[in-house]
Amino acid sequence: MLLVGLTAVACGDDGAPDADAPVTTPSTTTVPVTTISPDADELPSVLIAGDSVLQEAAGPLAFAIDATGQAHAEFALGPDLPRDEADRALWQSALERTDPDLIVVSVGHWEYLSVLGDFAEGELLEPGSYPDEVIDPFVDLVTATGARVLWVGPAVIADPDEAEFVDGLEEDFRALAERRSEVDFVDADTWVAPDGFQETWPGPGGEPVLVRRADGIHLCPEGQVLLAEGLLGEVSERLGLTPAAAWAEDWRAGQEPEPGGCAPGYQG
């Protein structure tokens, strides 16, 4: 499926009308998707909130959502889950600004550092306390006004030790979706790393196409499109959106080219 996606990406340059038709990706949710019914007089609002990897995909994702003309999306930086009142105030501000019907959330690398810090500082004393003390209070906060959450498990990263730790966090995120009816879980790896971490994927002619940055964490522009395509399918399913056929090509046309097609690290 990723090969198909990359084929569509690479063929977009020839101007063929169907070159960047959205890739149909299977839903990774294990429960029936709950369709969201926002206020009839307003476009559905999507808050995309999370770390720098989600921020990279949020560019094309928000573009694609807005391009439907059927919903509006904004990104808010929230690289780790709130731990204190100050953090919660920032999230609350983003919620009030966007009044979301759907919140797309993903945290990984920063959360890994924060969790380690929590243990170092004694804020988390027991390994199993993270869900009760961090995750659930966060979900309580963001769902208080009735929004649903699409929790995106972080894309696997190159460093094996960190990857193993983040896998543990991801298990907590999966379990969250099983116990909280307002939360669905999807895994970014479904679209950008189905067979584990890889910097490149084969393009339509067999040539490698960069999808991950050299830092081992972030997404190249084509990786951003892959993740955005997958998440767009999930968002569209929940909000009843019809993605524009040429959104990916239109998004690319507005981007400054990166050196070598993919800079080595995060591009703020």
């Binding site: 808010a76 170092a120 995060y266």
Partner: protein, 140 residues
Amino acid sequence: MKATLATVVIALLTLAGCGGDDGGGEATDTTSGSETTEATTEDLSSYETITELNDDLGAAGIECTLEYEGLVDEVREISQCPIDGAPAILTVWYDDGLLTEFLATDPEAVAYGANWTVELSDPATATSVADAAGGTTTDA
């Protein structure tokens, strides 16, 4: 001690040279029905970027190897590093209102200036950071 005082003087001179401090206004508690915390940010330093803030910390001998140069969205630039072995979160705020809301929660061990914060876990470290960067702390 002399070195420390010199560092503070340098930091304050640096602060004066930072420019860009348009007053910053006051950070006041906008919540109602609770104790108010008023944190005046007038005359405190401001920074254009996390890197500039971190440079002043480094000049004062506070080691902070940033995870990133800074993650950026419309309202802030944010990065993190360990300081004295504990996580620290550095933020340069583009939105005065958000900085006000942040400080109004009366967080502990936060060094801050006109448009920046460094979240720490130890008030003494927060004081060192504030001294180095021309700010104050929420514990002051």
